[in-house]
Structure formats: structure tokens, C-alpha cells
Symmetry: C2
Subunit: 316 residues, 2 copies
Amino acid sequence: MEKYIYGIDVGGTTVKMGLFHYENMKKIDSYEIPTPNLEDGSYIFKKIYESIIECNNRHSIEMADLLGIGIDVPCPVKNGYVESCANLNLNEINLVDEMKKYTGDAIKIAIANDATIAAYGENASLESPYQNAILITLGTGVGGGIILDGNIIEGSTGFGGEIGHIRVYEEEDKVCGCGSKGCLEQICGTKGILDYTREQLKKNESTLKEEDLTVKSIFDAAKQNDPVALMTVHRVAKYIGIAASILSMTVEPEVYIIGGGVSKAGLFLIDLITEYYKKNSRFSTGNIPFKLAQTGNDAGMIGSALLVKSLNKKNY
Amino acid sequence: MEKYIYGIDVGGTTVKMGLFHYENMKKIDSYEIPTPNLEDGSYIFKKIYESIIECNNRHSIEMADLLGIGIDVPCPVKNGYVESCANLNLNEINLVDEMKKYTGDAIKIAIANDATIAAYGENASLESPYQNAILITLGTGVGGGIILDGNIIEGSTGFGGEIGHIRVYEEEDKVCGCGSKGCLEQICGTKGILDYTREQLKKNESTLKEEDLTVKSIFDAAKQNDPVALMTVHRVAKYIGIAASILSMTVEPEVYIIGGGVSKAGLFLIDLITEYYKKNSRFSTGNIPFKLAQTGNDAGMIGSALLVKSLNKKNY
């Protein structure tokens, strides 16, 4: 009898639903439903359950054929518990318990932070997955996930792997979204990249036009040796390299994986980060490789499905 | 029949040997032997074995009564393997295998980095040990150890928990012992503390005399509100607080334990570090407590003994 798992990636706007074969992880179906932005955020689990039933029906799958449902959410999570998730209107709630209200106890449920789950999925999707890996995602924000001995690191209340809020530079006037200063995200998040480039455009010659400025246009211009774009890109690479040098002195992974929208800059970015990492790395840790994330938009679905699959294997 | 374990703390000058009851961890005997600084560093394991035999004889203990031997060494270790340990003249060698040449396979052997083992021992010695703890040791150097889910974190080649080499400030001219710049140790190690204080003495009034300057005299003067001593002590506390804020965004422990010689400054230091930690902490992680290490000079012996005891419990 075939067995199945769901991998579900919950964002503030849409919920990406993925149905996978349990054994070979082949994707059978995937689609999006809108995130219900209701005052009672827990309604989302009813919606997810109803969507699972519909999807099951389309593929003639019974609930008894499901071995697990993995879900990622955009907030800190510890063992399924969420203290506060502003994007989803969830407060002081155990999400695994919420999901089980609908599915019952027979189906394994795994719920964790989205970047942490992406780290799990990206590493597991590598040709030879590592036991110890760190994903750094570069997008609107800078996120991350840490895998040690094959397990996700949530930290004591869910803030493990919040790499975007590692302090990498001396305090300045600007305050980060987290309320503090000097965070990696302030330099390497979209806003940091655009703000810094705009400042430099005032003082330097460039092919970039302020009115058309996007992260993509900056990286494209940098590849064409535009001086301002190069300044921005080197700054981003430098501080990612510094943050990684710090992570090597804390948990020392075997690989760094770079994901998120900004990572579309590709090997150009990876090579620059590697250069700055080597400059800042300590002892013999300079040889830890940097790789590009591979799973793209499906990272959350695949990671969620793989995480709940690992729970089954461990027979939790 | 009573069972016993040894906890052994190997330093560059002396080897501290401790014999403990297995069940209640009561210390039966402890003493020091000189570290044999021979070209072939592996000779130390023969010395340790001979010393164990002698100690066993003094207490009428048979080798068969030993359940384990735990050993810490002052260098990075990964699963017993050491790439290079300058202090002990050891290179590319598996220390567990070396010890087993003498003891055979029946007795469990655990060998790990000294600060990592101290972290394990300090946490296990707390009234209520935590599952996730970080020890920061302040002495000649700045070291550390990370415990996650009750296990030591060695990193992929042994550099896990090298907290002294987290980059906490912008590059300057001075180069750290590790060859890099901006390390926590450059500010908070003995040399960093003395150098900074000497510089400030040139520019400021103080009760401190340059010729009598020690870390202890600086902390004592700070407690008496000496302005230069206060500058130094605040600087140390600030950067320990910043490093901890970074660690909270990577592995988010439940407690920070401050050990090493400098920690003799006591609650005065803990309170200052806590103040700077809270200022620099992100999100809700500001409430993670700071505690003083308790085991003093015995940390290595106790930690080593406890680590090998944990291997027995896991039935490795």
C-alpha cells in the first residue's frame, strides 16, 4: 500500500501545499491557498485540514494512507509551541496540538520555523547531505537554519538559527526591525542593500538609476563591474562572510548553503562570500564550502515533508 | 561491587588526576603529575595509565572496577581525534585509540576539549542542570563550551564552542593569537585587559599603578570605583554581553555560565555582563540568566568524569 506525506509552507500571504510519496519523495501535487488573515489565527489549521481532504479526494487517498504532515511557519517555534506570530495572528499556542484537533493522533505532525525547515530540506536535497549544515537565506529579511547531527536546532525558545540578527558591526543610528542595532539583516536584507546603494549613488558615478533600483539590478550591474553596485555587493558578501566566520566558532558546520531571492545572483555571489569568509575565518575552518540552495520555491514544502518523514524514521 | 571512574584534566604543565565513585560522583582521590613534555606527545597516555594503576593500588581497586576514564585536553578534538595540539606535541592522532592501547576495550574512554568538558561539568554541577548551556571561561585566553540537548558540541572538526574567537568588533591593527582580528579574546583575555588598562592609565587619573597591574588589581579597583578600572571592566562586560547576544541568535541556550580566573570577580562581573547582555540581546532572549561557575580548579576533572559517565548511561 502506497503511503504519503504532506509538506506545507505557511507564509503571510499564501499557504503552499505539497503532496509527496512517502518512500521516494516524488511530488504528486502542489498548489497554493490564500492565508486566511483572521483575528483567530488558529483557523488556518481548519483550512489546511479541509484542503488536505480535498487533495486526498482528487488522488483517491485515504487519511489512513498519510504518514505525516509537515508544516513550516514564519516565526520562532519550539517543539511546536509559538509564543507570538504576528504574520499569522497566533499567540501562545501549540501548533501541533491545533493540527491534531483535526487529524487526530495517528498522523505524525511536525511544525517548525520556515528558515529552519528550509535548512533541513536544502541539506537533505544535496547529493550527499551533511550531518552539520547551516542555511543562510537572503531576501527581504535575512534568515537561517542550523542542522547539527542531522537535527534542527530550535534554541531554548525558538530563536536558534536567527542568523539575520547576529550583530556583525558596530552600532549605528539605524534600528533593525528586531529593535536592536548592528544586525546582519540591516546590511544584507533588501532594505539594507537598497538604502546603502542609494547613499552611494549620491556620491559616485554609476550606471544604476535610482528610480529603477532593485536588488536584481544591483547584482546585474555588479557583474558588469559598475563601481557602486560592486561596493554594495562586496559589502553584502563581506558581512555574510563575517557572520559565517562567527558561526564556525560556535557550531562549526560542514557546509554553508546560501538561499533566498538574493542568492539568484548565483556563483558570482558565492565566490565573493567565500573570499570574505576565508579572510575572516579562524584557524583551519576557512575550507568549509559555500553552496547555492537548490530547491527554490519548493524549499518549505520539501523541507516540511522531509522533517516529518524523519520523525517517522526515528519512531517518535 | 563499587564501581569507579577517573576524570583527568590535561594541561600544558600538569595533569590533574581525579578518582570518583561512579554512582554518587564522590571524589576519592585527586593529585597532580607533571605533563611529560616529550617530542612524542603520545607518551602522556602511558604516564596516565601508570598513574591510574598506582592510584588503583593505593585504594585497592582493580581495573575491572573502572567503568570509564574521561580526559580533557587543551586543543580542538572531534570524536577523540586531534589534528594538532601544540601544548602536548600531538598531531593527527586519535587519543581514544591511544589510551585504549593501555586500558584495552573494556573501559569506556571519553576525550574532549578542556573548555567543552568544563562546560559539561559546570552545567551538570548546577542544582538543576540545563539541557542547553554555554560556558564562557575568562582567563589568559577566552574559551567556551556549548551543550545542546545534553550533549557537547564539538563542531565538524573540533572548533565548536571556540567562543574566544568570535569576531565582536571591527578590525584593528592588533592580531589575535589565532592570526585573525577582532576576537573576543583580544578584549577579554588577560593580555587584552592589561594592555587596554595600561593605555588608559596614560591618559587618565587612577589609583592603579602600572607596575603592580594584574587582572585582580583592576577588578578590585573597579569595585572601589576607580575610573580607569571601571572603563576596563565595562569594556570586558560589554563584549561578553555582545558575544552572548550573538550566541543567543545561533543556538539560544537556557543559561550562560561564566568561569575561569577572571570570574573570581564574582557577582560584580556577572551583574555588569547581564546589563550589557540585556542591552544587546534580540527579541525576547534578554532573560537568559548568567551564573558563576562553581567547580573551580576541579572543573576539568569533574567534567571529564561526568562525560564518560554519560557515555555509560547511553550504553555507547
